[in-house]
Symmetry: C2
Subunit: 315 residues, 2 copies
C-alpha cells in the first residue's frame, strides 16, 4: 500500500457523534487528528473525548480542537461528517484544509455529498464512506457506540484505487472495520433501499422505532413497494441490486429490534432532517431518468410537510 | 309525484349528528319519525332535540326515541346514518324495519353501503344520499348545523325514478335542500375525489385542518396526484369526471378555510375512522379493474397503520 503518508494529518469537519467517534479511533491509532468543534469546543479542549464502545471504552484526554478550519490548515485527509443539512457551510469550511493532494472523505448520508465536495476541489480528490453503525453523543465530549461500526469506502470517480485500499488499511490499523466498494454509488443506493422506507415511515408513522413498522402488515407492504421503486431507480442508473434484496433487508430488520432511525430522532428532537440527501435527491435522480416513483414522491412530499409543520409549530 | 305515502313513517338508524339533523327536519315537516338512539336515549326522551342551525334554530320537544328497531317496526323509509364502521350491526338492525315497500336510504360516507343494505332487502329498495354539510353533536340532544346541508339522492340500481324525485320533494318540503343525481355512483366517486386526499392527509399530516394542507405546496402536489388516481379509477368504472375537476376542487377548498374533515376529528377523538368505506373499498375497486393507484394504496396503508397504532396506544 502506498500514496498515503503516515501518520496522516486529518481534519474532522462536523464533530458530532460520527465525526468524533471515527476521529478518536484514528487519533488512538497514531494519526494527527484535528477536530472542528462548535458547541462542545471549550468542554472538549478541557476534558477531551470519552468513547464508550461495545468494543471497549477509551478516552482521548488531549484533543486538538478548533473553532475554525483556518486554524487547522491543510491536511492529508479531510473527513466530512456534517449533517447534510449544513452542507451550505462547506464552501467556507473546506478551502483552508486543502493542499494539492488532500483527500476529501464524506461520511454523510444519502446522495449529493460527493458532488458538493467535488465542486470545492477536484472530483479525483473525493471519496465517500458509508457508515453502518449506532453512535450517539450522550453528553458533551461523550460518544456512545452501541453496535456495528463498519465503514465501506469508495471513490467518487471510477473504481477503487491503491489509495482507497491504503485508507481502508489505515482505518483498520486504528480499530475501524473498513472495507472498500468498487462502486460507491451502488453502495449508496443500496443503503437508500433501506433508509428511504424505514427512516421515512418512522417519521410519517408518528416518530416510531422500526419494530412498530415490522409489526404492521400494512406498513410492511408500504416498505416493500418503496424498496422496489428505489431498486428500479438504481437499476435505471446501471446499479443493479441482487434479486432478493427487498426480502433480505426486511428479514434482517426484524433482528435489530426497536431501532430508532437517525432521521426520526432528528425529527422528534427538533433538529434539521436530512430530507434532501435521503429523499428529495434520489427522487430527483429517478425522475431525471423518467423512472416512475409515485410512492417515493408522496413520501417525500409528506416528509417535507411534516418537517415544515414541526418547525412552524416550534416558533 | 307519487309512490310515497304522506306523511311518511320514517326510521332513523344511527342517530348521530347527521341522523338527528335530517330526522328532526323531516319530523318538523310533518312526517312520523322514529329515532333509534343509544347514548342519548333517556336524555332525548326527556328533553327532546335542539337544532341550532345557521338556517334558523328549532327544537323537537317530543321525540319518538327507541332503544331497538323491533320497537319501531316496519316503516316507509329507513334512513341509515350509522358510522360505516358499525355496518356489521345492520344485519340485526334493519329486518324489523322492513315491509314489502320500505325504502332504505343510506346517508353514509364512501363506497359499499348501498351493497350492505341491498344484501338485507332487495337492491331495488335501496337509495343513497350524499350529504354536503357541516353538522356536529355538541351536547346530548343538541345538534349544531353550521354550513350547507344539501343532500344529493340517487338510486342504487339504475337511474332516478319518480320515487327518487318524490323523496327529494318530501325533503324539500321539510326544509332540506335535496336534489337528485341520475348516477349515484358517479356522485359518490366525485365526493371521494375530495375526501380521499383531504380526509386522509388531514390525518397523516398530524390531525390538521384543510388550511394547513392548502398552505403547503408539497401537500398540494400530493392532493392533486391522489385526485388524479381517484379520477382514473372512477373513469375505469365508466364514471367520467369533468376535465378540470381537480383544479376546481382545490380552488374551492381555499374558500372553506380551516375546515376539519370528519375523519380527522374521529381520528383525534379516538373514535373509529371510516377507513374501509373511504379508502380501502375505493382502492379495492380500482385494483379490481387493474387501475394503478400507488399513492392511494400507500395512503390507505399509512392510515391503517396510524389508526391501529392510535388504538394500541390507548389501550
Amino acid at each position: 500500500m502506498h500514496f498515503l503518508p503516515s501518520p496522516l494529518r486529518i481534519a474532522i469537519v462536523g464533530s458530532g457523534a460520527v465525526g468524533c467517534y471515527y476521529g478518536a479511533r484514528l487519533a488512538q491509532g497514531g494519526h494527527d487528528v484535528h477536530f472542528l468543534l462548535r458547541n462542545d469546543l471549550d468542554f472538549v479542549r478541557k476534558n477531551g473525548l470519552k468513547i464508550r464502545s461495545y468494543l471497549g471504552d477509551f478516552s482521548l484526554p488531549l484533543v486538538q480542537a478548533y473553532a475554525t478550519t483556518a486554524a487547522i490548515g491543510p491536511c492529508d485527509l479531510v473527513i466530512v461528517a456534517l449533517k447534510t443539512t449544513a452542507n451550505s457551510a462547506l464552501a467556507e469550511l473546506i478551502p483552508p484544509l486543502l493542499g494539492p493532494h488532500t483527500l476529501l472523505l464524506t461520511l454523510q448520508n444519502g446522495l449529493g455529498n460527493e458532488e458538493a465536495l467535488a465542486s470545492l476541489a477536484s472530483a479525483e480528490q473525493v471519496l465517500g464512506g458509508i457508515c453502518f453503525t449506532c453512535i450517539n453523543r450522550t453528553a458533551p465530549g461523550v460518544i456512545e457506540h452501541t453496535a456495528q461500526g463498519q465503514i465501506v469506502l469508495g471513490e467518487f470517480v471510477g473504481s477503487d484505487q491503491p489509495r482507497t485500499q491504503a485508507l481502508a488499511a489505515a482505518m483498520q490499523a486504528s480499530g475501524i472495520e473498513a472495507s472498500v466498494t468498487p462502486n460507491l454509488l451502488w453502495t449508496r443506493w443500496k443503503k437508500l433501499v433501506w433508509n428511504i422506507p424505514f427512516n421515512g415511515l418512522a417519521i410519517v408513522g408518528g416518530g416510531i422505532s422500526t419494530d412498530r413498522i415490522m409489526a404492521s402488515p400494512a406498513l410492511l407492504e408500504t416498505v416493500a413497494a418503496l424498496m422496489h421503486e428505489v431498486i428500479a431507480a438504481a437499476s435505471a442508473h446501471g446499479l443493479v441490486m441482487e434479486p432478493n434484496l427487498c426480502q433480505t433487508m426486511i428479514d434482517s430488520t426484524y433482528e435489530i429490534g426497536a431501532y430508532r432511525p437517525s432521521s426520526m430522532i432528528d425529527f422528534r428532537e427538533g433538529r434539521p432532517v436530512e430530507w434532501n440527501a435521503i429523499w428529495a435527491e434520489p427522487l430527483r435522480r429517478a425522475q431525471a431518468l423518467s423512472v416512475a416513483c409515485p410512492r417515493l414522491e408522496q413520501l417525500t412530499q409528506l416528509l417535507q410537510f411534516l418537517i415544515s409543520e414541526r418547525d412552524r409549530n416550534r416558533t
